[in-house]
C-alpha cells in the first residue's frame, strides 16, 4: 500500500445531479482518513449510493472539489480505480461457479496465478464458501451471494475499499457474520468507506460516521462523539393503545413547542429526544390524561446512535 499522510478522500462542496434539477449529492464536505472505517449513514434515497458512484469515479461530480488518494478523479480516474475495491449494492457475477468468479476476477486484476490460487483458497475458507465453491453464482442464496461478492473483492490489493450496503437483504445473523468477516479483513489498516442505513452496523464497524440526508452531510464525527454530542439528551418513548396515538403525539408536539425532537416510528412508538426528560414525561402524561388516551407504556432511556440519527434528521428538516 502507498504511504501517504494526506486524507484518503477529501470532498469539498461535492454535488451531483442526474437531471440538472435536483441534486442527489448536494454540497457534501467531508474527509476520510487513511486507515479508518468511515460510515455513510442515511435512509434509502438519502444519496449514499450516488455518493459512492462519484467516489468510485463511475459518475462525475457536477460541482465541488474531490481528491481520492491525493488525486483528482477528473484527470486520474484510471489510476484511482486501480487502487480501490468496490462492493456494489447490486449483485455482480459472471455466469460461472463461485471459484470461477474468483479466478476470473483475479485475472482481471492482473494477479499472478500463484497468488491468485493462494488468495482464492484463503478467501473461500475465511468466508465459509468452500462447500459451495463449485456452485454457479446465480444459484446461491442471498446470503451466500453477498459473502461471495465481498470475499471476491479481496482477491486484489487496494488502498480504499468501498462497501455499498453490503448487508442489504440479509437476516440479523448473516449480517453480523458478514460484518465480522469484513472486520477481520480490514484489521491491517485498510481504509473503508461503508454505506448503510442500519445504525447498529455503523456503530459496530465504523470509526467515524457521516449522517446523510437529502444529499447533505448533516452530522459527521466518531460514533462516541456523536453520542456525546446528544449525550445531554434523553429519549422519552411511549406508545398508546388503539388509533388515538396521532392525537396524543400532536398534543405533545404542541406542548413541547419545538424544544425537543419528536419522532414516530413505523411500529407506532413515539420518541421524544429532550434535554429535559422530566418535563417531557410530564407533558406526555398530562396530554394523555387530557385526551383520555391510555398509555400502553412510557419509558426514559439514554440515547442511542439511532436517536442521534433521528435527531440529526429532525434538526435538518426543521432547519429547512
Amino acid at each position: 500500500m502507498h504511504q501517504d499522510t494526506s486524507d484518503a478522500i477529501n470532498a469539498v462542496g461535492l454535488v451531483h445531479s442526474y437531471d440538472g434539477k435536483k441534486n442527489a449529492v448536494d454540497g457534501m464536505t467531508f474527509n476520510v482518513r487513511r486507515g479508518e472505517v468511515f460510515g455513510v449513514l442515511g435512509r434509502n434515497g438519502a444519496g449514499k449510493s450516488t455518493l459512492i458512484k462519484v467516489l468510485t469515479t463511475l459518475i462525475r461530480p457536477t460541482a465541488g472539489k474531490l481528491t481520492i488518494l491525493g488525486m483528482d478523479p477528473s484527470h486520474k480516474s484510471e489510476e484511482i480505480r486501480a487502487r480501490i475495491g468496490v462492493v456494489q449494492q447490486d449483485e455482480s457475477f459472471d455466469f460461472t461457479s463461485v471459484e470461477g468468479n474468483f479466478d476470473i476476477y483475479g485475472v482481471l486484476w492482473g494477479i499472478p496465478k500463484a497468488v491468485r490460487i493462494e488468495r482464492r483458497e484463503r478467501l473461500l475458507k475465511e468466508f465459509d464458501l468452500l462447500e459451495i465453491r463449485k456452485k454457479r453464482s446465480f444459484d446461491l442464496s442471498g446470503g451466500q451471494k453477498r459473502r461471495a461478492q465481498v470475499a471476491r473483492e479481496f482477491m486484489h490489493d487496494m488502498d480504499i475499499l468501498f462497501l455499498d450496503e453490503p448487508t442489504v437483504g440479509l437476516d440479523v445473523i448473516m449480517r453480523r457474520n458478514l460484518l465480522d468477516l469484513i472486520k477481520e479483513q480490514v484489521k491491517g489498516g485498510l481504509t473503508v468507506v461503508f454505506t448503510t442505513h442500519n445504525l447498529e452496523e455503523a456503530d459496530y464497524l465504523c470509526d467515524r460516521i457521516a449522517v446523510v440526508e437529502s444529499g447533505k452531510v448533516i452530522a459527521l464525527d466518531t460514533v462516541e462523539n456523536l453520542k456525546r454530542l446528544y449525550g445531554g439528551k434523553r429519549t422519552v418513548e411511549f406508545a398508546v393503545e388503539g388509533s388515538s396515538g396521532i392525537e396524543l403525539v400532536r398534543a405533545v408536539e404542541q406542548s413541547l413547542n419545538g424544544e425537543s425532537t419528536l419522532k414516530v416510528l413505523d411500529d407506532g412508538t413515539a420518541l421524544v429526544l429532550t434535554e429535559d426528560p422530566k418535563k417531557a414525561l410530564r407533558v406526555v402524561v398530562e396530554a394523555s390524561q387530557k385526551l383520555g388516551v391510555q398509555l400502553e407504556w412510557l419509558n426514559v432511556r439514554k440515547n442511542t446512535l439511532e436517536d442521534v440519527f433521528l435527531s440529526s434528521i429532525g434538526e435538518q428538516r426543521s432547519g429547512n
Binding site: 463511475l58 480505480r81 459472471d94 476470473i104 485475472v107 482481471l108 492482473g110
Partner: protein
Amino acid sequence: MVLPRVSRLVYRNFKVNTDPASLVILVGLPAMYLVFFGFGFGDLLFIAPGLMAFQSVMAGTVGGGMLWADRRYGMLAQLLVGPFSRLDYLLGIMLTTVIFGLAGAVVMYAVAFALLHGVYISPLGWGSVVVTITVGSLFFGALMLILSALVKSNNTYNSIQILVLFFINFASTVFYPDTPRLPVILQVLFRVNPLSYIANLVRAGFDGTLAPVDVFYLIGLLAGTVILVVLATRTYMRSDISYT
C-alpha cells in the same frame, strides 16, 4: 506475466461465454444447419460458405449479448470501477466478437470439409474469408451493441434481436442464391442486406471465384462497418452503466 488490460477482458469474455450450453448454440446450431440444409437441398458447396458468413451474425449476437448481460447482472459497473476504462471494455467485446466469428467460420469449414470429404480454399481465398468475417463480425457486433446499449427491458431486447436476426438471416444469400426467379421484394431485401454481401464475399473466397468487383463490395461493407462502430461507440459511451 500480467496480460494487457484488453487481453484480460477478452480472456474473461471467453471464459464466461464458452460453457458447453453456449457452445452448442453458437457452433452446434449452425453445424446442424449445415448438415440438414446441405443434405436436404443437396448443395453443401453453396451452404457451407454461407454458414461461414453466418458466423459473423452469431458472433455479433455474442458481442451484444455480453454487453447486455454485463449491464443486467452488474458486471459492467463492476468492471468499470475496476482497472478498466469504458474503451477497454468496448475493445474487449469487439475483439472477442471477431475471434468468435473467425473461430466459428473455421469450425463450419471443418464440418464442411468432413462432409464433403475434403474441400480446399486457396490462400487468397482464406485471406478474403478472414477479412470478410472480421469486418462482418464487427458490423453485426456494433449493431447488437447499439441495441444492448439502448434497450432497457429484457423482453424488448430479445424480441428486437429475434426480429432483426430473422430478417438478416433469411433475407440473405446465406441459404438461397439471389436469382431473378425470387419475388422482387425478396430480391430487394437480399440486396440491401449486408449479410448477403458478406456471404457472397466468403463464397467467392471459398470457391476461388474472387473478382475485382468484390473489392468494391468489401469497401462498401467496411464503410458501413466504420459508421456502425462509430455509432455503437458513441451510444455505448453515453449509455447508463447500470441496468437498474
